[in-house]
């Protein structure tokens, strides 16, 4: 018979209790709840802390700038820093990242300039950073579509014996899309080096998780693809980092894809144009604010004597300077050339498009003349 049995992987249900290495009080967790994963060393944790603090400050700053009208829209990741920063920190510069609109702070952590990240949300151009330079795809808006790109790129690299890994983030809502399914399946069948991080922030805009799935955990979906799945406390950066790191290593060494669910919560509105009071209780938000991922790690680091007041101040200062820089670039208007609208649609110029370009050029010249005459 044609069942390719040797291709089959071990079947196992992800643990229903989320994997956790630090509890909410900042204590190290021991025993089965860790899923066998080790707490990262203090240096790593301190670096994760630094990144989260900077990311949070950036996020708060951008939300403020958005309220002031400097950006067209901004989807905040406030509260999701453990997922956002933990996972992106588990890949290397040579690896590729496929983010969504929500993942600006992961891009910041990846070293992309605030002004470049925010070009799209400011409304200047659809994508503002060099994807090749950062090995970072544009922030996908059509849900789950980027997961397939991550799988395709990983497969290409694998065919080239290039030992890189691709990582993509998805929301809980996005797991309902057909593309999520197809990405999981292609990755598993092709055994691509891909790590899927589902940030389960429990809402898709206004729609709660219970309307999105009946699975016990989103990590359970891994079973249907014959790939490993992990259900992780998404407000525990130590757990997110360790689990994604292990998945990245397995992927790099030919072990195929992994699906990781981080259970977390979005503290801010979906975007600035959203009104979350319509669909969730303030007390839920309060509940989750008390599980803040940064405070949790901070408590641990302080209790371990790994975070001195000096370092804390130094990190806060670094965060402030990122915020200040962000304010600065976002309050300077970029020079936009409307004629560029025609220049990148095709590599080979099209006569009819050049005619349209010339028409706009003439219009702009007329308008400039009129403006000059009016002055």
């Amino acid at each position: 018979m044609s069942l390719n049995v040797e291709h089959r992987s071990v079947r196992a249900l992800p643990s229903e209790k989320p994997i956790r290495l630090l509890d909410n009080a900042g204590h190290a967790v021991h025993g089965s709840a860790t899923g066998g994963f080790d707490l990262p060393d203090a240096e790593t944790l301190l670096e994760l802390y630094r990144r989260m603090v900077v990311a949070r400050r950036f996020d708060v700053q951008v939300t403020a700038l958005t309220k002031q009208g400097r950006l067209a829209t901004y989807p905040s990741a406030y509260g999701q820093e453990a997922c956002e920063i933990g996972a992106i920190s588990a890949i290397e510069a040579r690896d590729w990242f496929f983010p969504t609109y929500r993942d600006s702070i992961a891009l910041l952590t990846r070293g992309i300039e605030p002004g470049d990240i925010l070009q799209s949300f400011r409304g200047d151009w659809h994508n503002g950073y060099d994807q090749h330079a950062h090995r970072c795809a544009s922030q996908a808006t059509p849900l789950a579509t980027q997961a397939l790109h991550a799988v395709g790129l990983a497969h290409a690299a694998r065919l080239r014996q290039d030992p890189i890994v691709t990582m993509t983030y998805l929301g809980d809502g996005a797991t309902s899309e057909g593309d999520a399914h197809e990405a999981f399946n292609f990755a598993a069948v092709w055994q691509t080096p891909t790590v899927f991080l589902v940030q389960n922030n429990q809402f898709a805009i206004s729609v709660p998780l219970s309307r999105q799935t009946r699975a016990a955990t989103l990590a359970d979906k891994a079973v249907g693809y014959g790939m490993p799945g992990f259900h992780v406390d998404g407000n525990d950066v130590a757990a997110v980092y360790s689990v994604t790191r292990a998945a990245v290593e397995r992927a790099r060494s030919g072990g195929g894809p992994t699906l990781i669910e981080g259970l977390t919560y979005r503290i801010e509105a979906h975007t600035n144009s959203d009104d979350p009071t319509r669909y969730r209780h303030a007390r839920d938000v309060e509940h989750w604010k008390r599980r803040d991922p940064i405070e949790r790690l901070e408590k641990y680091l302080v209790s371990e004597g790994a975070l001195s007041e000096d370092v804390r101040t130094e990190i806060a200062d670094a965060a402030e300077s990122v915020a200040a820089h962000t304010r600065e670039v976002m309050t300077t208007e970029a020079e936009l050339d409307p004629l560029e609208l025609f220049d990148h649609v095709y590599g080979r110029p099209r006569a009819a498009l050049l005619e349209q370009r010339a028409r706009l050029e003439a219009e702009l010249a007329d308008a400039a003349t009129d403006a000059g005459a009016a002055r």
Partner: protein
């Protein structure tokens, strides 16, 4: 030929109130749900949130979760299950959050929604409405301002309509819901907050008819949805320069009202179609082609297409350059040889 001119609003019973297009659509859904319990509404965020444009605001608290609910986030799933619900005899009204997010449902739309009646020789009909907040000019980031009408109008079996004002929004949505055939109901986002004094319920011209919304003698501007306002503004500006423009609100994109449009064009002998979507392969091509085919010897000039450029929809700060403006309309008319 005046059957479908401006007086398409039935006399008001009581004093009219100012209503936005979003409000009129909301009222249409509410009234349809109240009148017919086969009408159910679902999609992404249509429940407690009331839709990202608030078109379904308050409906869940009035009608309950069995009549209007949030579905999982999957557009093919939404359209595909709506097909099944309509097969059973319900009248689902589903929402695609933006044009670009209807694309995952393309196969269900083209291979089933459009084809079911024909496939079954009319034994199985699909009374369903697919609402699509459409087009741009709202400062939306990428994928939030597409114009998808050319995809639907190129698909035999679909009925495609687009209101341009609150009264039509109400009347046409009621008619779409009452229709035994699937209707793609496109709602121009940039007009959601436009207001008009209305007394509900209101019945305007049948949804398959175009309407002359401004009479003129020298040029026919053929517009729909967001560009009707553009056309009217251009007509006002032209009037002061002594050019008499007639504006036709197409309203029904498929079927196309050859009669009303033909009458206007034969009167004026010049026509231009205006839309936001890219020109190449856009709906305006069909309009220009068929108006020319049917009225060639009445035309003093080629039918112009005043449309978006042949580029992906621009980012918020650049969209103003892409969208047809009244000035651009008037400039285009100037390219004709006029021998008045």
């Amino acid at each position: 030929m005046t059957a479908t001119t401006t007086e398409h609003v039935t006399p008001a019973a009581s004093a009219p109130t100012q209503l936005t297009m979003a409000g009129a659509l909301n009222a249409a859904l509410r009234d349809a749900m109240a009148d017919d319990d086969r009408v159910v509404v679902y999609g992404e965020d249509v429940g407690p949130l009331g839709g990202v444009f608030r078109v379904t605001d308050g409906l869940q608290s009035q009608f309950g979760e069995d009549r209007i609910w949030d579905s999982p986030l999957a557009e093919s799933g939404i359209i595909g299950t709506a097909v099944g619900m309509a097969m059973y005899g319900m009248r689902p009204v589903v929402e695609m959050q933006f044009d670009a997010f209807s694309y995952p449902a393309f196969e269900q739309m083209v291979s089933h929604v459009a084809k079911m009646r024909n496939r079954t020789k009319g034994r199985m009909t699909l009374p369903m409405v697919v609402r699509i907040p459409c087009a741009g000019a709202i400062g939306g980031v990428e994928h939030h301002s597409d114009s998808s009408e050319a995809y639907w109008t190129a698909t035999p079996g679909l009925t495609v309509v687009m209101p341009s004002n609150p009264a039509d929004a109400y009347s046409m949505l009621r008619e779409a819901i009452d229709s035994d055939d699937p209707v793609v109901f496109m709602e121009p986002k940039s007009r959601y907050w436009s207001k008009a004094p209305l007394t509900l319920p209101v019945t305007t011209a049948p949804m398959d008819r175009a309407v002359v919304v401004r009479e003129g003698t020298e040029v026919s501007l053929l517009a729909y949805g967001p560009t009707v306002r553009t056309a009217l503004e251009a007509a006002d500006a032209a009037e002061s320069e002594g050019l008499s423009i007639e504006v036709v609100d197409l309203r029904s994109l498929s079927p196309f009202d050859d009669e009303t449009v033909g009458a206007s064009v034969r009167k004026t002998s010049r026509a231009a179609v205006i839309h936001e979507a890219a020109q190449f392969g856009g709906y305006g091509a069909e309009v220009a082609a068929r108006v020319t085919e049917r009225n060639f010897h009445h035309l003093a000039a080629p039918v112009l297409r005043i449309a978006g450029f042949d580029i992906p929809y621009p980012s918020p700060k650049l969209e103003e350059h892409h969208l047809p403006t009244p000035d651009r309309v008037l400039a285009a008319l100037d390219t004709w040889e006029w021998d008045r």
